[in-house]
């Protein structure tokens, strides 16, 4: 086994070997590891995606599981064993109701501007709330909206997905139902002109949750 590395200079390691490598890399990292990162560390010619799939199967029903988080992978303990982990539990600062609601609005409406968050909550968003979410690295700034004033938008991060055990933003609980019910539309109040911003925002939102079955989009 000592000459695996040398051999690999000439040909890509076999799938079993690649699986071992992926396993070692994922075990050694606390953060999700992207495919790109794996490829760059593994011997030339490795294609870890197949190895990852095998590994994911191998750990099914074990004490730890292989999770995908937006094209990056991580090993996490199985949730049913959390009772063993009292010692490892990290006390997170209690989030205010405003912060939790703001986070949910950003996750379901992203990319979303501050004005839109305020419109949904019906109250001003305090700076501290946004700061707290930014500090947790659960949200980050997205592209600026191409409307007058070029307002900043917010989107959720991979750290958010990892924290809440989501593979992708489109896996948010109840997303499809909300969309079907039209509750994620940016519906303008009657009598007000539908601004460019509004139209644009639905556009962008679609592209963010891309890769979804277009049939899922029940929008008017």
């Amino acid at each position: 086994m000592a000459n695996i590395h040398e051999e690999s200079l000439f040909k890509a390691p076999d799938i079993c070997e690649q699986e071992r490598m992926v396993e070692a890399i994922l075990f050694a990292s606390a953060e999700p590891v992207s495919l790109h990162e794996m490829v760059s560390r593994m011997p030339h010619g490795s294609e870890p995606i197949a190895a990852l799939e095998n590994l994911q199967k191998r750990y099914q029903g074990r004490g730890v599981e292989v999770k995908e988080i937006d094209r990056a992978w991580a090993i996490r303990t199985s949730p049913d064993l959390s009772f063993l982990m009292r010692r490892e539990t990290v006390e997170t600062r209690k989030l205010s109701r405003a912060a939790i609601e703001t986070l949910a609005i950003i996750a379901y409406h992203q990319p979303v501007t501050r004005a839109e968050i305020e419109e949904i909550r019906g109250v001003a968003v305090s700076r501290g709330t946004i700061d707290q979410l930014l500090e947790l690295e659960w949200i980050k700034l997205g592209r600026r909206r191409q409307t007058p004033g070029r307002p900043a938008t917010f989107v959720v991060t991979n750290l958010f997905l990892d924290h809440f055990g989501l593979e992708h933003a489109r896996d948010l609980p109840g997303l499809k139902e909300l969309r079907a019910a039209g509750l994620l539309d940016n519906r303008a109040a009657p009598g007000t002109e539908i601004s460019d911003e509004t139209e644009y925002s639905t556009d962008v939102q679609e592209s963010l949750f891309d890769g979804e079955d277009p049939a899922d989009d029940i929008e008017d």
Binding site: S82, A107, G122, V123, G165, G191
Partner: protein, 258 residues
């Protein structure tokens, strides 16, 4: 008896006012308050009676004002808007009037309430998930990936030759450096004159300041004369020397200024 009755009323009133104070503090804006009020109707938010809701809200605001509770402007703006909505809902639509109908406005308010409620439900679902650091755990003993970057600089013989050729070619366009032997710059003349000027007290022809070995070659003499003259002007400007010329084409003479 009378007093007794009065007292009970005031106690009830006091309780009511206290709840109000607490509630107003607890509400996050008029929409939150409306959402809470709508719960008393105990129906699907889509089937809510916006008219009833508007009435409840206006009553609430009225009571709060009577109890001198400070209300944020947001609450009053909403109150005004709901009063307007109420009138639209109650009166038959005026065909002469433009703008959205009361029903449209009411539908939008219902939509806003439903959306806020939906977001609250989502937030609760999100927080109830198996969370990292609470239900799921990361690797306790992560290993650092050591990063080492090696930079290899390359250059070949052609680069070297081109580099050298570039310098030498550049020199061709800098005759000042290469033709230095036939040119005296003003700076050089100035340096030379600054050294010599101290030794001459009387009027002296500037030609005598020219370096001796520059007098014979006409090319060199021309350059030396020009730069020496320019240097003289510079020195005169600085106030170090005086300069004079008797007549046209006469020798230019200088002397140290005393």
């Amino acid at each position: 008896m009378h007093e007794e009755l009065f007292r009970t009323e005031s106690v009830a009133e006091r309780v009511a006012s206290e709840t109000l104070i607490i509630d107003v503090d607890g509400y996050e804006g008029p929409l939150d308050l409306l959402l809470t009020l709508s719960r008393t109707q105990k129906v699907d938010l889509r089937k809510i009676s916006v008219l009833d809701l508007a009435v409840q809200y206006l009553m609430f605001i009225e009571r709060a004002t009577a109890l001198r509770i400070e209300l944020a402007a947001d609450y009053l703006v909403m109150a005004a808007w709901l009063a307007f909505l109420k009138s639209r809902l109650l009166l038959p639509p005026d065909p002469k009037e433009d703008g959205p109908s009361g029903d449209e406005l009411a539908a939008h308010l219902a939509y806003q309430l439903e959306r806020l409620q939906a977001m609250r439900d989502c937030a609760a679902k999100l927080m109830a998930r198996d969370r990292l650091g609470k239900d799921r755990f990361v690797r306790g003993l992560p290993e650092d990936v050591s990063r080492r970057r090696t930079v290899i600089y390359t250059a070949n013989l052609l680069d070297l030759m081109q580099g050298y050729a570039r310098i030498r070619t550049k020199d061709d366009f800098r005759p000042f450096v290469l033709d230095r032997d036939a040119v005296i710059t003003m700076e050089q003349a100035l340096t030379r004159m600054r050294g010599l000027i101290g030794f001459t007290g009387d009027w002296t022809d500037i030609i005598s300041y020219l370096p001796e070995d520059w007098l014979n070659d006409p090319q060199k003499r021309k350059s030396a004369t020009a730069s020496t003259f320019a240097a003289s002007l510079e020195l005169a400007k600085e106030g170090n020397i005086e300069i004079r010329q008797g007549e046209l084409y006469a020798p230019i003479e200088i002397r140290k200024r005393s």
